[in-house]
């Protein structure tokens, strides 16, 4: 009791930084995942939690808060204490894209973007049994025939719609409700081509699905021969950074500890194996300054695409 009182007094008088320092954390942490268990974010997050636990010396408990493509999780995160004990791991689409089309209760400035440890894999895919396999062949085919495309988000739909207009394609776009719904449409050749957020990792090794182009800003190291849309002359990209995010106002040395844990994870073999081997997401380490800039840049670019 006495000790606690002294500690509290000490913390108040000396200010948070001194009390926190290198012995943070002193109790278990919570990692929030804004999706259901079993998806790529969840798989990566759970491995990341284990590795961070190893570094921080306290358990990191994973809590799934699905809903609205992480919008629910971000709304809750905004209202938790900014002490670093609760953080979110996931993509930033709920910040760079969702607020443009839907009223939400949070904004980019409500959070801080500490570190990104994996890069997304947004691709345009088609069936190996189609008469076309590259993006140029799809466009050439589309100039002669009416075509169909399966979307997963309004953003990829907006990009493909813009390209179809530029190229003069007659394109019908259907919703799929996610990667699980996209695969049977592509493999059953109900649609000609489709967006894939990572589901293709499951079907390209078997030779059933072909990646025609990447929507990310850079080529994937796992498909080195497949160009990006930007390389093909279309100025669009969808970037997805799997990031550790905390509510704004977390003390600096706590943030440093979390960033150090992220850095540790990005070089940890089991995290690399699962992320690159199972989900085909390249492991990276992007620090806070760059991520803060990235989030705001992507938001501005997305607003531009969606305004068309």
């Amino acid at each position: 009791m006495k000790k606690t009182l002294v500690a509290i007094l000490g913390a108040t008088i000396l200010g948070a930084p001194m009390a926190m320092a290198a012995d943070w954390p002193t109790r278990p942490l919570t990692m929030v995942i804004g999706f259901n268990p079993g998806g790529s974010t969840d798989i990566q997050g759970r491995v990341l939690a284990n590795v961070m636990e190893e570094f921080l010396g306290q358990p990191v408990n994973v809590v799934n808060q699905p809903g609205g493509g992480s919008a629910v999780a971000f709304t809750r995160l905004k209202n938790t204490d900014a002490d670093g004990y609760t953080f979110l791991f996931g993509g930033t689409t709920a910040l760079t894209f969702t607020p443009i089309i839907t009223p939400v209760e949070y904004e980019i400035d409500d959070f801080e973007y500490l570190a990104s440890v994996a890069l997304g894999q947004n691709a345009i895919v088609t069936s190996a049994e189609q008469p076309f396999s590259t993006f140029d062949e799809i466009i050439a085919h589309g100039k002669e025939n009416p075509m169909t495309y399966a979307q997963q988000t309004p953003l990829d739909e907006a990009i493909i719609r813009a390209i179809a207009e530029e190229e003069g394609l007659d394109l019908a776009i259907v919703p799929t409700g996610g990667g699980g719904g996209m695969a049977p449409l592509v493999l059953g050749r109900e649609v000609d081509f489709a967006y894939s957020g990572g589901t293709h990792a499951q079907y390209t090794p078997t030779g059933e699905m072909v990646v025609a182009a990447f929507m990310s800003s850079e080529r994937s190291p796992f498909y080195p021969d497949v160009p990006t849309l930007i390389e093909l002359g279309y100025d669009y990209s969808i970037e997805d950074y799997r990031t550790i995010i905390v509510p704004a106002g977390v003390p600096d040395d706590v943030k440093e500890r979390l960033i150090a844990a992220a850095e540790f994870a990005s070089t940890h073999q089991s995290f690399i194996d699962i992320t690159e081997g199972n989900t085909f997401f390249p492991v990276v380490m992007i620090g806070q300054d760059e991520m803060e800039a990235n989030v705001r840049r992507i938001r501005a670019a997305t607003e531009e695409v969606m305004a068309d």
Binding site: N36, I101, Q151
Partner: protein, 504 residues
């Protein structure tokens, strides 16, 4: 994709953790089955949140084990209390209770158990043999076919759920309406969320299911608290002559095989639940018997017919579920929700993409049957005692699990309020005889139906003639129209729908 892979998966599936998970599911199901008034779908809806911390294989096997357990357990109360734990065991009580009254309660229970287990194992084997080849043709089922089959399932289930067609339409319409809440699946714009972030992914399934199925049922039960059980129940006594013998078994075996066939057929069709299966099987056994007048007076064949069909329905209902992702009844619809929670899309590609998972589940199902036999055989006395647990002990426990299950969902107070609202809705529906089965199935099917219908309309570019190239879709559209017309004609002719059996 060969059948030996199931064997390999079985070896891998038999770990201590899966044994405990599946065994726990069967035991829990058995207990729930024994307690009158706690039904299978109630148990599944309450148990889904418990599976959050299990692997997908154990979670699904646990829930299927639970289903199987309820089907076997419900025979206990049917035989000893004349109060079936499930509607589907009502046919068991017809002969089981008289037989127990005649001083052969244990024999009756053992006949029920053996019929349950055999019906179960055989139907599971049929499921394995039907579902695996099905995966090869599954890609023939595109959006047109899926939309047509879903529409058919919806109309069929509504038609069989009893009540007037207008009340059925009202219940189904409300389910469809609630099913459209959430982000639009193409534009991402919120529909009917009224600014609640929690509703962006739609009305939470667990709240709707636990509310309308389980919690409302507890309200209904607490009204009937003065139920007098003591006078009716038959106690188990030590009596060495009261047991199943080889001649009895040989006598009922053909009945069990026929019951399994009936149950499997009924289960594989969407909308027809175990009650239809057990009564149909009972009727057929009576017709085939040389001594039909002894039915209803303690004929072992009556028990065997009812129980084997009751249990066979459960694995068979998974044929359309695993093959196409289409639920045949409420329990199967809840399983889709459970798969989704574990990140697995149930649909034509399930078996192709997750063969190990599905093979393990098959193996888990067989294991569940074996555990069921052991539990039922050696736990006879224990389960007989459970029939005596008074409802004022059961009801609060179930209510606790309902609320705890909702809290686990992470919706906080918002979730509890929604749960209570649906409990009230379910209670009123039950009181005023609106089919909550139709409501719930419509609610669960709607997002799938909407997506497939939307895909069909966009892909066909509004050209109806495309259906001429899709004979499977055309067939199911014709069936849907036929079912609708039949329903309407019957309602206007007699004022009552075709049948009156719940689809669960």
């Amino acid at each position: 994709m060969d059948f030996s892979a199931v064997g390999a998966a079985a070896a891998e599936a038999l770990t201590l953790a899966s044994f405990i998970g599946i065994g726990g599911g069967v035991l829990l199901g058995y207990i729930v089955g024994v307690i009158p008034g706690l039904s299978r779908s109630v148990a599944i809806s309450i148990a889904i949140p418990m599976t959050f911390y299990m692997s997908p294989f154990i979670a699904i096997s646990f829930l299927i084990g639970l289903s199987k357990g309820t089907a076997a357990g419900s025979a206990v109360s049917a035989i000893l209390l004349n109060a079936p734990g499930e509607a589907s065991s009502a046919a068991t009580a017809l002969d089981g209770y008289p037989m127990a009254k005649k001083g052969k309660p244990k024999t009756a229970l053992q006949i029920g158990l053996i019929a349950s287990v055999l019906g179960d194992i055989l139907a599971t084997i049929i499921l394995i043999f039907v579902a695996i080849p099905f995966a090869r043709v599954a890609l023939l089922f595109g959006p047109y076919e899926m939309a047509a089959i879903l529409a058919f399932a919806l109309v069929f289930i509504a038609g069989l759920s009893g009540g007037s067609i207008f009340k059925g339409l009202a219940a189904g319409g409300l389910g469809i309406f609630l099913g459209t809440i959430g982000l639009d699946n193409q534009t991402g714009l919120p529909r009917l969320t009224f600014g609640y972030t929690e509703l962006m992914d739609g009305m939470p399934l667990i709240a709707v299911a636990i509310g309308t199925l389980a919690l409302s049922e507890m309200f209904v039960q607490s009204e009937k608290l003065r139920y007098d059980r003591e006078n009716m129940s038959v106690a188990l006594k030590k009596d060495s002559s009261d047991r199943i013998t080889w001649p009895i078994f040989r006598n009922i075996l053909p009945t069990i095989l026929r019951g399994t066939g009936v149950g499997t057929f009924v289960g594989a069709l969407p909308g027809l639940g175990p009650s239809v299966g057990s009564f149909m099987s009972y009727g057929m056994a009576q017709k085939a018997a040389k001594d039909p007048e002894t039915f209803g007076k303690g004929n072992p064949k009556g028990i065997a017919a009812s129980e084997s069909a009751d249990n066979a329905v459960i694995p068979a209902a998974l044929i359309p579920l695993f093959g196409l992702g289409i639920p045949g009844n409420v329990s199967a619809a809840l399983l889709i929700g459970a798969f989704a929670i574990h990140g697995i899309t149930v649909g034509p590609l399930l078996l192709r993409d997750n063969p190990e998972l599905l093979y393990s589940i098959f193996a888990g199902m067989i294991l569940a049957s074996v555990i069921m036999l052991a539990l039922g055989w050696f736990g006879l006395m224990f389960f007989a005692q459970i029939t005596r647990v008074p409802p004022h002990v059961v009801i609060p426990i179930v209510i606790f699990f309902c609320l705890a299950g909702m809290m686990l969902q992470g919706y906080g107070t918002f979730g509890l309020i929604i749960l209570m609202a649906f409990a009230l809705l379910g209670y009123l529906m039950k009181k005023y005889d609106y089919s909550f089965v139709t409501f719930l199935v419509a609610f669960i099917i709607t997002p799938m139906l909407e997506l497939n219908l939307r895909q069909s309309i966009i892909l066909s570019r509004g050209n109806v003639a495309i259906l001429l190239d899709r004979p499977i879709a055309l067939f199911f559209i014709a069936c849907t129209a036929l079912a609708l017309i039949t329903l309407i004609i019957r309602t206007f002719r007699t004022g009552k729908p075709a049948a009156n059996a719940p689809a669960d």
